[in-house]
């Protein structure tokens, strides 16, 4: 076969994949917006329940929804694409021209991968920005487990200086703009002694928490001191606090490493965060693997075979893989598994299933 013809078919497949992906994105995102309206109606305050506000909040949520539905869109888009190619006898024609399943997969893979990259580089930061605004509009103060705890205007920080030394800091009032704190309680636990500090006011400057009007108690010496000023050395700064207040999911991809490092200072880093960040970065590859599995399952059917069997089985397998990913994420938290191992499993299982299916079809 001429190289020129191959190129034409590849371009056609690439174009068709994009078309199916876009159609599915539109349909599923509208569907999720519709479902999100129910969620909105529960969280929105009575005074803000008007049509314009619902539309505005849905608009703010849209990039996050798009980012969330990539796996579903890939599963459905590729399943319907292959089914369409089979129905129109295009699939069998390509096979007769000498295309292997992998040859057919190449342009589909490129389209899915490019979509994944577009979502990582463009939609991910946009979704983070708009979701933060969405939370702000809804006055959503739900704390993430992995951010600095703020409850009833009280801030709770656990500063892990090293394995032996840590501080529990409770600030009853804090102005996050200028980082002025008041009514502060600090418990310092060290290897050889413990200290308890109460201060009326405090200010974060670089890596020092400057405390004023201080009551200081040394457990080892069993003595109280009233001090005008006390400099508490900490291993974080104002910026670290502000960053760690935000939810770990509301961080753009280019800040993942910095954010992880900052969370470690507050003893807030867990393998769940590592797994989430790794999943986001490798999403283009994961969606390509999903497409590979769907292709493996849907391309084995003939034109005269049951249409529903094709779609049901391939979509069902795709959704099972999504569920598997969620379950492994959950198990990573429960069993404190290494996130690299978890991601390896998430990645390897569908890849092996897809590969097995394709080898089976080629052999048949």
């Amino acid at each position: 076969m001429l190289k020129k013809d191959m190129k034409k078919i590849n371009i056609y497949l690439f174009y068709l994949t994009n078309k199916y992906l876009i159609i599915n994105f539109l349909i599923i995102s509208i569907f999720i917006i519709f479902l999100n309206l129910l969620e909105l109606s529960r969280v929105i305050s009575e005074n803000d329940k008007n049509i314009l506000n619902f539309i505005y909040l849905s608009f703010l949520k849209y990039p996050s929804i798009l980012n969330e539905i990539i796996p579903f869109v890939t599963i459905l888009g590729v399943a319907f694409l292959i089914r369409n190619l089979i129905s129109n006898n295009e699939f069998v024609s390509m096979r007769n021209l000498g295309f292997s399943i992998l040859d057919i997969f190449k342009p589909i893979l490129i389209a899915v991968f490019i979509m994944g990259l577009f979502f990582l580089f463009i939609i991910n930061p946009l979704a983070v920005f708009m979701e933060a605004k969405y939370d702000n509009e809804l006055d959503n103060k739900d704390n993430s487990l992995y951010s600095i705890k703020i409850s009833d205007n009280e801030m709770w920080i656990k500063n892990k200086v090293d394995q032996q030394n840590s501080s529990f800091i409770n600030i009853k009032n804090i102005n996050l703009r200028n980082m002025f704190a008041s009514n502060i309680i600090i418990l310092q636990t060290k290897n050889d002694t413990n200290n308890f500090i109460m201060a009326e006011k405090g200010e974060f400057t670089n890596n020092i928490f400057v405390l004023k009007k201080v009551k200081y108690y040394d457990f080892k010496k069993e003595e109280y001191k009233n001090l005008d000023k006390y400099n508490l050395i900490i291993n974080f700064n104002k910026e670290n606090i502000v960053n760690s207040i935000s939810k770990y999911k509301l961080v753009p991809y280019y800040n993942y490493i910095n954010h992880s490092k900052t969370l470690s200072k507050f003893n807030l880093y867990s393998s769940e965060i590592g797994l989430y960040y790794l999943s986001e970065i490798l999403k283009p590859i994961f969606t390509a693997v999903l497409a590979f599995v769907i292709l493996g399952f849907s391309s084995k059917f003939q034109r005269n075979e049951n249409f529903f069997k094709v779609l049901f089985i391939s979509i069902f397998i795709g959704l099972l893989i999504f569920l598997l990913k969620e379950i492994i994420t959950k198990l990573t938290i429960s069993l404190t598994l290494n996130f690299l191992l978890s991601y390896f499993i998430i990645f390897l299982v569908p890849l092996l299933i897809g590969l097995y299916q394709i080898i089976k079809i080629e052999n048949e």
Partner: protein, 342 residues
């Protein structure tokens, strides 16, 4: 006899597509809900299977919400396939006209309405209530053995707990609670149990600090210390949600607005089927632009209905607005048809 076979075939085709789209949309909605439940219950470390079982209770409620959507895309996909395979033309050329289609759409509409009414008026609210109760129970049951990570957990309004867990051993236990005085307890090691609505802390090697109203500080160092704090359950009233009201509850409480919302949901299902018949099937027009027009019109009405239902609106304004919009789309459809004929 012959027309019966055609009708059975049409009915099976519509049902198949309806089930396919139901499966796709329900799976997506359910999986997204599971993801949300996993995230919400992360720190409680509830078993995966428990969450999966809990999420099953969401399914009837999800079906009532997504059913009109399923109808739109199910009908469209089914008739597009019939047209593409020339089956539509074949059935029409038999001379029965649109009669078999009308009969099947009507019977399908009837079955869906009976199913939807049962679900929307009684079954879904009942099952959703069970879901809410189970969810609340789960949220209230803190199994410390399963918690691997803590970040100043709120045990109740005044009690905060933090610890580090290493090889199932609790270390660096920090507790702050209020009993008139503000108390802070720290222990290097310890054990935490939840027995009979009471948190039982068995602490080793630590100290307790009490601060009274005048900011006078008292300290106590200990080698072993047992601290018991009552566990206050969240009141079950929190379970009450308008989605948990059955039709009987609505009548009892004279919540006519909720009843009218549910009745209008049924009317909207009828509208989707009627509009499909009028806009697409009657004209045998399944080209892309007409299909887009049909789906966008229906989705607009459904989204608007959802927004209005959740807005602070009176029953009359709500009904007036919905019927006006339906009327506008029907008129537009007629104008569009005339324009296309010319």
């Amino acid at each position: 006899m012959f027309i019966d076979k055609i009708q059975i075939y049409l009915f099976s085709q519509i049902s198949k597509y309806f089930i396919l789209i139901l499966f796709i949309f329900l799976s997506i909605a359910w999986l997204l809900q599971i993801t949300r439940l996993f995230t919400v219950t992360n720190f409680l470390h509830i078993e995966v299977l428990d969450i999966l079982f809990l999420s099953v209770y969401l399914i009837p409620n999800l079906i009532t919400v997504i059913l009109p959507f399923i109808l739109i895309f199910g009908l469209l996909l089914c008739f597009m396939k019939l047209k593409r395979d020339n089956e539509l033309i074949a059935i029409l050329s038999l001379g029965f006209g649109l009669k078999p289609f009308k009969v099947i759409l009507l019977s399908f509409c009837l079955i869906i309405i009976i199913f939807f009414t049962l679900l929307n008026f009684y079954i879904a609210p009942k099952i959703y209530e069970i879901y809410k109760i189970k969810e609340l129970e789960m949220r209230n049951t803190l199994d410390f053995d399963k918690i691997a990570f803590s970040n100043f957990l709120n045990l109740d309004k005044t009690t905060i707990l933090d610890f580090h867990k290493k090889d199932k051993q609790y270390e660096e236990i920090f507790i702050k609670y209020n009993d008139g005085n503000e108390n802070i307890v720290y222990a290097k090691k310890g054990n935490i149990l939840s027995i009979n609505n009471q948190y039982n802390f068995r602490l080793t090697d630590g100290f307790k600090i009490s601060i009274d109203e005048n900011e006078q500080i008292e300290t106590l160092e200990f080698l072993n210390y047992v601290l018991k704090i009552d566990h206050k359950n969240v009141i079950s009233d929190e379970v009450v949600d308008k989605n948990t009201f059955t039709i009987f509850d609505d009548f009892k409480t004279k919540n006519y607005l909720n009843i009218s919302f549910k009745i209008l949901d049924i009317i909207l299902i009828m509208f989707v089927i009627f509009f499909f018949y009028k806009n697409n099937l009657k004209e045998i027009n399944f080209n892309t632009s007409n299909n887009i027009y049909f789906s966008i019109s229906c989705i607009c009405i459904l989204i608007l209905n959802q927004i209005l239902k959740n807005s602070e609106i009176t029953i009359y304004s709500y009904i007036f607005l919905i019927f006006t919009i339906i009327l506008i789309f029907l008129i537009t459809s007629n104008v569009k048809k005339r324009y296309e004929k010319n």
